[in-house]
């Protein structure tokens, strides 16, 4: 227990909350596996230069050699070591996943909050805007943006955020719409708290739970989209990415299965990890889902 003289402070209480959440997470089957996968990927991404046996762009080996002890995942058509490429590709995918999830959270949080709290014309305009961006499939929006403006890392990130924010914005909007008419908000208004204070300090902590789950899912969508774009040969040519490896593999996989198999498996691993993590989050944030039996079980 903390001594009462030291006030917890927001940072410390957030840290305590985080530690507690991590503990809960490890208790759920899906969450524990998801956490483990993400942890491994994060370590691989951070320490890529130490883990990768070769420089990913170095064309030192013989081309298209099958997996062996020397080249764990084999080599590609230009003699690059696929294991090293996959290791470095983790960086791109995680950066896109994290960046897009964070960007979409900020954008959709802002839009959803404003629309849900103020209603009226603000609501009408912002929610129509969300609908507008939701009309076309995500991949088409990203492809279109990249086609017009090019595919540097930042542009790609912006394009993905632009394509995925509406789902989350609707979620935040729904939460604010529901919570704004609750008694605690009315009480805060009577207490003459500022609107910003009510939106951020009163409603936000109550609204955030389902949104956090969506953030994890957003990251997995972003990783899939980046991989898809790489597969089409349209991602940033200056970065190593899993999708791009699959693009190259397209021409060689009939004679060298390893060029396609390992990068694809890496994408799957990241997406499964994020989905399991989201499942775990869902479970610890909403205890009602635990132990609910089906109606026809007898």
């Amino acid at each position: 227990m903390e001594p009462p003289s030291t006030a917890p402070g927001p940072v410390r209480s957030a840290w305590r909350g985080f530690r507690a959440a991590l503990g809960h997470m490890a208790g759920t089957r899906h969450g524990a596996v998801g956490c483990a996968i993400l942890l491994v990927l994060a370590i691989v991404a951070i320490f890529a230069p130490l883990i990768a046996p070769y420089d990913p762009l170095q064309q030192a080996q013989a081309s298209l050699t099958p997996p062996s002890m020397r080249d764990l995942f084999g080599t590609d058509n230009t003699g690059r070591d696929i294991f090293s490429l996959v290791i470095y590709g983790t960086r791109t995918s995680l950066a896109i996943g994290l960046g897009a999830a964070f960007g979409a959270l900020v954008l959709s949080g802002l839009v959803g909050m404003l629309a849900g709290y103020f209603r009226g014309p603000v609501e009408a305009i912002l929610m129509r805007l969300a609908e507008l961006f939701q009309t076309l499939p995500v991949i088409v929006v990203v492809l279109f943006t990249v086609a017009l403006f090019g595919s540097s890392f930042w542009l790609l990130l912006a394009a993905i955020i632009l394509a995925i924010w509406p789902v989350e914005a609707r979620l935040v909007y729904g939460q604010y719409l529901r919570l704004r008419s609750m008694d605690f908000v009315a009480a805060a208004k009577v207490a003459d708290m500022s609107t910003i204070h009510i939106m951020l300090r009163e409603i936000l902590p109550n609204a955030i739970r389902p949104v956090i789950v969506q953030v994890a899912l957003d990251a997995s969508v972003a990783i899939l989209i980046e991989a898809g774009l790489g597969f089409l040969g349209l991602s940033d040519p200056n970065t190593v990415s899993w999708g791009q490896l699959l693009y190259v593999a397209q021409d060689y996989m009939t004679i060298a299965w390893w060029t396609s198999f390992f990068p694809g498996a890496a994408i799957c691993l990241a997406v499964v990890g994020l989905n399991l993590f989201a499942d775990g989050l869902n479970e610890i944030l909403d205890p009602r889902t635990r132990g609910r039996a089906g109606g026809l079980q007898s």
Binding site: P137, V140, F144, A147, G228, G233, L246, L296
Partner: protein, 322 residues
């Protein structure tokens, strides 16, 4: 019902116009020369430049350009592709039916699969069957369609030789109707399967949640109290009521597939809209890119509208809201 139709139309038309406006607005911000951005990467003579500038009102203010674009659209003119040397509409009209064919066959596999698996796992929640399917669905949903496509090609086409690796079969054929389809069934099998794995697991997920939701309703308790058998309850009450959300999701998925088959069609070199879009992007043929994206937007909005109307026809409770 009429009021509902009018209400939805009033909603869909401005949405469509807004989407097209945003697309045209984005064209404004392309860096570089607008004429070059229109025709793609090839040299243009001054005369040609002047003709294009005049034809597409490139020197006029944005509203004039938008107006002329809409007038053209209403005449069925989606612009001209200088890379393919054909009107964009011709390209779309040629490839869209192939995408629709692929999507339809994919749906023929995905929908029954989703309904069956979703119902079985939803009615036996928390049992071993359910756990198995939820875990399978989780993994199946995480596999990128294009990678699954590559694996299918690798195993079923290259190693076992059961299917062709790519394409749509002979482009010119005398066959008609069913025999035309049978000629292509071989080619369609793998892409349709890859599509169905992804969509089918999604449908199963939704069906499962919907079934679980239905089971909690009062009329199920009543039906059980009446002494109806488990099978009769599932067939008579659960299946019908749980299918409604699936109608919406599957319908929306159909609209999205028309534009979203980009990756799938690229893996199998299936010459549909998606592959056309990718080719156009690679050639920097922006006229075609914009044409396809606008066509996809129209398709999505129209199909979503039809889905909503169908939903209202199936479920009388919806009509009241309007």
């Amino acid at each position: 019902m009429l009021r509902f139709v009018l209400f939805r139309l009033l909603h869909a038309i401005p949405l469509l116009i807004a989407v097209i406006l945003v697309i045209l607005l984005m064209l404004q911000f392309i860096p570089g020369d607008p004429v070059q951005a229109m025709v793609g990467d090839f040299p243009v003579s001054p005369e040609f430049r002047a003709a294009i500038t005049q034809q597409y009102h490139l020197d006029d203010p944005f509203p004039v350009r938008v107006y002329s674009y809409f007038v053209n659209l209403l005449h069925g003119d989606f612009g001209y592709s200088y890379q393919f040397q054909r009107p964009v509409w011709d390209l779309i009209a040629e490839s869209a039916p192939r995408t629709i064919l692929l999507t339809l066959v994919g749906f023929l596999i995905a929908v029954p699969f989703g309904v069956l698996v979703g119902t079985v796992s939803g009615t036996t929640r928390s049992s071993r069957v359910d756990h198995f399917w939820t875990s399978t669905a989780l993994v199946a949903y995480a596999i990128p369609t294009f990678w699954l496509g590559q694996l299918l090609v690798l195993v079923l086409a290259v190693h076992l030789g059961w299917f062709p690796t790519q394409g749509m079969g002979p482009l010119v054929s005398r066959a008609h109707g069913l025999s035309w389809f049978l000629e292509r069934a071989h080619y369609i099998a793998l892409p349709a399967l890859a599509f169905a794995v992804h969509e089918g697991t999604r449908f199963a997920r939704i069906m499962r949640a919907s079934v679980a939701d239905t089971l909690g309703q009062g009329y199920i308790v009543t039906a059980r109290a009446k002494g109806l058998s488990r099978g009769a309850i599932i067939r008579g009450h659960v299946l019908r009521n749980s299918s409604l959300p699936l109608v919406t999701v599957a319908g929306y998925a159909f609209g999205a597939a028309l534009g979203g088959a980009v990756l799938l069609e690229t893996v199998f070199t299936w010459p549909g809209l998606g592959l056309l879009l990718v080719q156009a992007v690679r050639m920097r043929d922006n006229m075609t890119v914009v044409g396809i994206v606008i066509f996809a937007a129209i398709a999505v909005v129209v199909i979503n509208l039809l889905v909503d109307l169908l939903y209202a026809a199936l479920d009388p409770r919806i009509r009241g809201r309007g």
